[in-house]
Symmetry: C2
Subunit: 379 residues, 2 copies
């Protein structure tokens, strides 16, 4: 298969394979349907309206965001049910509430301290603002959140009152430490703990409106390896839409599932040092090397045939500078196979970070680039 209009694109740029994206999104929805839970896609990965809709089976639906910029961008496109999954601070309530009011949407917020809970209540009373709250639980990642047995969960919940404009809905946790292993049994164990601790933490809640009980969990690995999510209201995951080498290196996806690549051009041949130089460097790829723990051959990205996205045996990016990527070659035959001006596609380590350098996705479907979809960046 040859992509007819690939050479018309300026490099570096992103290529998104629409069929793979749709397949990946379908598989996640299917998994959540099987486990009788709701998928709330984390749009911090794509930051694109078109892609969020594909994740939701071509509908507007519940989404997760990581910044208020994303919240505003998606609210502006009609998304009404948004979860901002990073702990809020009082100063950000004004902007958050502005977005809620401007677009008639709800942006659920997350807390893990009594202080912030009190400030939310104060703000709500002072400005007659509606907020929906989840308490963050740390189920082992060691980042934000409270241990599921922490008495502060009860203290936070005591701040809120039933039938108030500000509602405590339940708890949220994220088993981000599932990325640290490639052992399927360990991921299954993390997934079980994620579910059990989230459910157990709910029992610590006081003054709680049982009817709206929300238990929000999720990470891509724990979602796909879960066999039972009974009692879990919703699952948050994002990277499954694109996949990347970090996930492939952990066996969560296959390399051929990866929908997102960087298109680059060969800009030089360093004969003396046996290196091919391309125009994708640390800005075009990011300096993330998170695949290398379990896939040391990944380097800063695997070099692929530009038309098929199949990796060339043994070719990776060994070094990056701001606008240069260097590919060490063992055989000088590669100088003939990849002449100056030719294109390559690169499988990235971590798609969330790679995509953040770009303003748009070039959409590949049925062997040609059919569209360009924009994304948002920044805060």
């Amino acid at each position: 298969m040859k992509i007819q209009n690939l050479e018309e694109l300026d490099t570096p740029c992103l290529i998104l394979d629409k069929s793979l994206l749709e397949k990946n999104c379908f598989n996640a929805r299917k998994k959540c349907l099987e486990l009788n839970t709701i998928l709330r896609p984390h749009v911090k990965t794509p930051k694109s309206i078109e892609i969020a809709k594909i994740a939701l089976d071509n509908q507007i639906g519940p989404i997760t965001v990581s910044t208020l910029n994303e919240a505003e961008y998606f609210a502006g496109a009609g998304f009404k049910d948004i979860l901002y999954a990073v702990c809020i601070i009082p100063k950000k309530l004004k902007r958050l509430n502005f977005i809620q009011q401007k677009y008639s949407c709800i942006i659920r917020i997350v807390v893990d301290s009594t202080y912030v809970a009190q400030e939310i209540l104060k703000y709500s009373n002072l400005h007659n603002a509606n907020f929906e709250i989840l308490i963050e639980i740390d189920c082992g990642e060691g980042r934000s959140g409270l241990d599921y047995q922490d008495k502060m969960i009860g203290e936070i919940s005591r701040v809120f009152e039933p039938n108030h404009k500000t509602k405590l809905l339940g708890v949220l946790t994220h088993a981000g430490h599932s990325y640290s292993t490639k052992d399927k049994n360990e991921i299954i164990s993390i997934s079980n703990i994620e579910r059990k601790e989230a459910m157990a933490s709910l029992k610590k809640l006081l003054n709680f409106e049982d009817k709206s009980q929300i238990i929000s969990i999720g990470s891509t690995p724990t979602m796909f390896l879960a066999s039972n999510l009974d009692g879990i209201s919703e699952v948050r995951a994002g990277i499954y839409m694109f996949w990347d080498l970090a996930q492939a290196s952990r066996g969560i996806c296959k390399i051929e599932d990866i929908a997102l690549t960087v298109l680059a051009s060969v800009i030089g041949h360093n004969h003396q040092r046996k290196r091919i130089i391309i125009d994708a460097g640390s800005l075009a790829l990011s300096k993330d090397k998170s695949a290398n723990k379990f896939m040391p051959e990944a380097g800063y990205g695997l070099i692929c045939n530009p038309h098929t996205a199949i990796p060339f045996e043994g070719l990776n990016i060994s070094e990056v500078h701001q606008e240069h990527g260097s590919i060490k070659i063992k055989s000088i035959d590669w100088f003939d196979k990849l002449p100056i001006g030719s294109q390559v596609r690169i499988l990235p380590n971590h798609a969330c970070l790679t995509c953040a350098a770009y303003e748009n996705y070039n959409i590949l479907e049925n062997g040609s680039i059919i569209d360009s979809w924009s994304r948002t960046n920044g805060w």
Copy 2:
């Protein structure tokens, strides 16, 4: 000193100390003046019109860029003498020439292969386009460019003819390997080689218009440690405008010279794991850890007093996620010193990469944020 309006800023964001920027730019101009050469600031670091003008003593002047996007952005602001310091490929000539014609500017281009040289000449003949060419020399970095004794230098130069619309002006080299050491004598030695090999390579050129002979060299460390740049037409450097921990860790600047910081907010206290969580993660800082080779305490960035930008003893970012940075603390006193909602400033590893996530700089002068300057990103 307390910055009065710091708390009005949404975090994360960039803070640029204008006095430090001006001092840093003055020092580089002074150095080049002393060595009787021209400074051609590399604007890939700031990507900002206001900052480029400060680098040029509040004037329009010669600049270096790393992308055609930058070339277009600066040409649109009136910059006429631009050097695109990454090897060109034939496909990019059309856009480059479009920018040249639209803005009546010259964007000097760089080649290191006979093939590309021939294609430039063809394009020039076919489209009646003016190009100015430098041949890239590899003085030891091992990225792009030819060894100064490579016979291909002569071959490339033979492609061009005197009195043609496309002019071969000379040579360019970049001692990027000066970043790999903190040994001043080694940097001085690299600086000497950079100059000598660039000058020697010029002798390989044939069909050469001697009158316009250009020898363009540069990296920030080799510029500041050079004691003799006789015969060198111009020096390219960029990071000196902001400085960062990578440069400080190599002794090229002092920490108090760093003009660019990230402002972040404390969003959580993880009491169980003794961590302070901030809202600057891998997107807000980049995953660059290049300071850590010589400054292992740098982590993903040093945490500073938000008003003075003086580092807090022993506080760095030990772990990053997309929108979270984790600060390990030894004493729980830090929970009182840095309450939830309080701000910190972060000295980044590598300012070029950190800045790329942002659309603007918040300008700090005389104890307040006085302005916002935009920057360009992408390709």
